[in-house]
Amino acid sequence: MTDLFSKFDPIIDQRDTLLRTGLTDPFNLVMERVESPTVAICNGRRTILLGTYNYMGMTFDSEVVAAGKKALDEFGSGTTGSRVLNGTYAGHRACEDALKEFYAMDHAMVFSTGYQANLGVISTIAGKEDYIVLDIDSHASIYDGCALGNAQIVPFRHNDIEALERRLKRIPEGAGKLVVLEGVYSMLGDIAPLKDMVAVSRANGAMVLVDEAHSMGFIGEHGRGVAEAQGVIDDVDFIIGTFSKSVGTVGGFCVSNHPKFEILRLVCRPYVFTASLPPSVVATAATSIRKLMDSADKRAHLWENSKRLHAGLRQLGFTLGTDEPQSAIIAVIMPDLEKGAAMWEALLNEGLYVNLARPPATPAGMTLLRCSLCALHSEEQVGEILGMFAAAGRATGCIS
């Protein structure tokens, strides 16, 4: 018998080698208690959280939590069914209404996760004769959406407007075209030149889908994302988003002005063949989304945090993923996985949690310590964070 698991041997070996050095497993951390959006207890120690997607700090908002408790009492723990059968409650509709208002768009469709939103929309709207042109650094959920469907898949070099244009022009006349972009690319925290890319896409007859998972609530005047900030949101056909970042719970969605959009509810398999979100989740999401509409002060503070951390880390001598802070994500580039894991553990011992990111999730085989800021990180916490980076960086030899 061939052991089907033998294909995983290289990664098992790599992991064993890393753990044999005595390092804490960076992919097996347990948060024993969570005190707030910015602080948890890990290994019995009070730890500042700098590696969550809780950008707007909504997870402990009292109105959000109260809405969830009320829905749990009034509608029970789960729907036990698909959105198209018994799984659409008043709360699911209310959540979609909140999204339509947030984005000022005609249609909104809530999926059970952000991953499923990409999987569902991409695989369904692009058929066998159609072409999907996507950025090479696209998230796994976008690639998996492509793999689930039957379209021709054409990647182009990251954020390269001309590379996108050349590929669009090479597509045979008459074929359907979907361009898939992200507002913020989550590994390095860089943003896309959406203004030019959306214009090039439209000029070449393509529909445009933008994943704004990491920008919602934060970037753009109304927090609608990079497409809003760059003034092209009206030319974007589909925006994909998630509740598991700024919104502070779990779930995914697509908003659109396409007049036939609602038909997706019947033809999109990752929407139909899965259970809908629990009532408490859609209630917390709807409450949070409505509060995010009016969060200009928090957005301004989050930008301040991002700028300060970026400048501070740079001053300490770390190499960062972007020259300027472009989002709430600051990626610290590590020389290799061993050094990255050592630095990650040293930071944890200092009382700071960041994400250790490595290939294949990262571009160009990079090992990253990914820091994501929260609007509720105080000025003092950002100062503490920089102190911890200085100490851990010197202890591990990452900086001098």
Binding site: Y131, I136, C146, Q152, I153, V154, P155, F156, R157, A163, R166, R167, R170, I171, P359, P360, P363, A364, G365
Partner: protein
């Protein structure tokens, strides 16, 4: 239209910057097994090939191309 030999030598030239193992490349060299390219290297390389030959090589088509010779054949077909 360039002949197959020209296509092949251009392909070989574009492989070199990614040939980190210094493998001696021939028509039968396989990208995954022999050159040990990961998926990201493949994407970078294909982008260069596409721009050089002004063609589209979708990921669907890539899945059918295992060796250098097969790539040269596919490029001949795409340019025909």
């Amino acid at each position: 239209m360039p002949d197959r030999q020209q296509t092949l030598s251009k392909v070989l030239e574009l492989i070199e910057p990614f040939n980190k193992k210094g493998v001696a490349v021939s028509e039968s060299t396989r990208f995954a097994q022999d050159l040990e390219w990961d998926s990201l290297t493949v994407l970078d390389f294909v982008a260069n090939i596409e721009d050089e030959f002004d063609v589209l090589i979708s990921m669907n088509l890539q899945a059918e191309i295992e060796s250098v010779g097969q790539l040269a054949d596919a490029l001949e077909k795409l340019q025909a």
